[in-house]
Amino acid sequence: MRVVFKTSYDSDIDLHEHGADRLRTALLLGLMAILPFLVGDYYLAEATNTLIWALAGMGLMIAVGHTGQVSLGHAAFLAIGAYTDAALMNAGLPFYLALPAAGLAAGLFGALIAIPAVRMSGIYLAIATLAVFVIVEELVIMLEPITGGVGGIMAPSITLFGVSFDRYAALTNFYWLVLGIVALVTWGYANLMRSPTGRSFLAVRDSEVSARALGINVTRTRALAFGLSSGVTGLAGALMGHFIGFFNYELFSVIISINLLLVVTIGGLGSIQGAFLGAILITGMPQLIAILRDGVNANFGIDLGGIPGLDTMVFSMILIGFIIFEPAGLYGRWRKIRVWLETFPLARRDMFRRHKTYLKTERMK
């Protein structure tokens, strides 16, 4: 087990605890950057998709994982981001203005909802977000001049300073663009979590009453967290729009909201890494299922392709399995494995035993 001797407060404040950690991050980022030279277009597109999902997952993670606000309607913010970006670009605005505007629009909308919603706790907020999602969906259909209504809208191709970042014509560039945005957001997110703002999110999540006693304005903190959450999700929505190219309201169904929840839960609540792991799983899973399905078809002659909803079914089972057996998600499992390796052969099974407690009620006793 590595023991880090800390000689200054800075070693706690820094993003990385020690040099090897820093090196690992640099290597990972380097590998991601040269990915276009290592894999073909198909997998590069998949990687781009995964990055976009990770971005959206990070957005939801701020709310669900770090502030304890469950949202069942985050697809609404994806939609707001995508439509704002596409509409502004169609109106002639360049991408570098349209994208931040999309994030801002989604963020402001999210914060706006959060202000009345913060009076609600837990389950009620989840429901309110679901309602907001339905309303946004209908609004998208109603605002046909901007959104293209049922017919849909085209996300124009991106050109920055004369260089094309078109999703099809210049996929490598588009990939780098997405990677850059994701890296930037990740850095900001990590900064947030080591600063007073991030701590106030955690405080509000774990004990509202003592957060208040420490001088944290719970309403404002919740609204800020939800705003940031929906803002980041909005950015992801804008990129998703460009990635898909042509889309209508059906792209942002309630299933997407639930898949996003899957990303953060399976990935591991309360960790940035979890958003990435979850995104890898959710974007990789359909491929895996398709491969397995072909295998079953070829070897046993059973055509599973004829069964509709099998993908969702498999997702659901995985989700149930995770919630029951590993609520800490993939990242939590990874940490346990790491500790097991680091302390080998001294690890004991009870090291990570969960404390089971009786229901902590929020009601008046």
Binding site: V70, Y124, I127, A128, E208, I258, T265, G309, R363
Partner: protein
Amino acid sequence: MTELLQLVIGGLANGCIYGLVALGFVLIYKASEGVNFAQGDMMMLGAFIALGLGNSEQLGMPFAIAVPLAVVIMFGVGWGVERVIVRQLFGQPQFALVILTIALGFVFRFVAGSIWGYTPLVLETPFAGMNMRAGGIVISVADLIAIGVTLVLTVALWAFFAFTRIGLAAQAASQNQMAAYIVGVPVMRVNSLIWGLSGAVATVGGVLYATRGAIDPNIGLLGIKAFAAAVIGGLGSLPGALLGGLIIGIIEPVAGRYAPGEFAKMSPYIIMLLVLVTRPGGLFSQIQMKKV
């Protein structure tokens, strides 16, 4: 005026079904302060089981046997879900249950889809197509039965919680599991029972729904609307759930008649948001505050 009255009566019957599904939400919320997002899908599954047992080209049992049997089966399903899956979540935060039940809903939908397919089916009932006339208004027998059954069931459930031993035990468990456990309430068994009950209630709702139109595996999405109903009434209140259901049931067709289509779809949720903003605990809320 007749037109409005006609809309209101149809809406009442609809609202009763929302109310029944909402009752299922409230039951589980009362018992474990969790929300079962698969409630709508349990309703769907219940309706399909009744259909599978009763329809002539399926098992062909008489309606009067098929429906109670379906209710019993779904009681078992609810009970089993609690016993096998939900119980494992003991000690995890509320929202684990939310996600778990959403996933369960997908599983139910898949099961129903695999067995009965995705094309809408009609439940055969003895009173299909029967109507009554009063003044200029046509009332279908199915509507009347839906309203009647819902009222009876709500009163029965209320009496169950207010007067029976096990009902009181469930109330106690919902307020403080630990304390209830210490004074000898079999918290776990009560929870299983409540899940069973909500499965049974969902089935009644599903059958009533099926008497009024065709069903397919996606009718479970109605659960979201029923959920809005439960929230409008206040998640902890049985009469509140029914009232919420009725409000939504009536608003929907009326809004559909006098406002653009999208507004009708949005109306339940707009009302719900309004209620949440003005009375965060719902219309029938008890004051909620954590003691420190």
